[in-house]
Amino acid sequence: MLCVALLFTALPCAHAAGEPVAWSAISGGHSRGEWSVDLRGGWPRFAARAQVGVGKGWSPTLELVGTPSWRIEPSLGVTKSVLRGSKGRLVLELLAGWQVQTGSLAQRGPSLVARIRPLIQGKKAGFWASLGTRHTVLFDRTTRRSVDGSEVSWSARHRWSPEIGFGGVFVLTPQLSLTVGLDLTFIDIGTIALSLPGFQAGLQFGRGAP
């Protein structure tokens, strides 16, 4: 991944006068034609996001978030910048996908994530934050058997996992940036109620709007 990122930094920037792609990569709300990839690792979670701008601050987003050997959450959705200026932006995002958790507390089901991402941007560095809420539905099947036959019914349970993250982003080139941060995920509020504090570091690369 580092080699790929360095390759992109060596290519001539098609939009050198524009903002660094770091701001869009960190928060979202890309300009039309702008794209980015955000790769983050740390403890205990990792994340990978790919976004492309389609105009008016909308960015379809593909995301993979997880905790190694335990939980993985692929999602697809959109981000939208609702406030945007030279000093920062505010981005909302909504993604839908799946949640798979292995181990003794195995569970799987459709998942919906909503986040708000404020960003304060300077010339070469900025501050990012992310507040999110994940809602997962777990389906259960009950089969009732009797002398008269069998009957299948379905029920659903809801799991809520909010998350908070914040940190700094550092622009290396218009196409490349680094980020560090802290995050706290609350797993399954009301049932397991496990909180996972963690740290992360990431690499973002992409291209500005043509």
Partner: protein, 158 residues
Amino acid sequence: MSGCRLAPLSSLLLLISVLGSTACVNEDIELWEVTLEITVASDDESIEAGPLFIELHHREVGTGELTYPLALIEAFEAVGPGSFVHSFDYPAHAGTGLVAYAWRDLDEDALLCAPGAAEEPVGASEVSDLESYSPQVLILLDHTCIGPERFTFPSDTN
């Protein structure tokens, strides 16, 4: 006349619903509606009918090295010695077999053989023919003051 044609979006939503419901089952619960005909008897004719505590257990739960004998399904009160019928949902997904355990509360203190109290008769029996959904079981109160774990019931693997 052409068959029913769903719009592409409706087809996609239907596919997602079917896949979602079949590919992401978490708890897979199987309940059998069982009506159990229980007869509690004693060779001691001096034991009159009175409070009777009944417990229904899986014969064993778990698999492999984690197999464990007896897991309580439900407990209820009855009057006996005598015969009565009890209907319940047998959780077939949670274990195998069914054991019925009973004890006669002679001093009516709701405690089995409390210190200083009289010895109280107990008995247990495994229920066969569970898949008929209306099995019969005879529990003979031929022991005193022991819990269901003191009875042994061979597992299917033995």
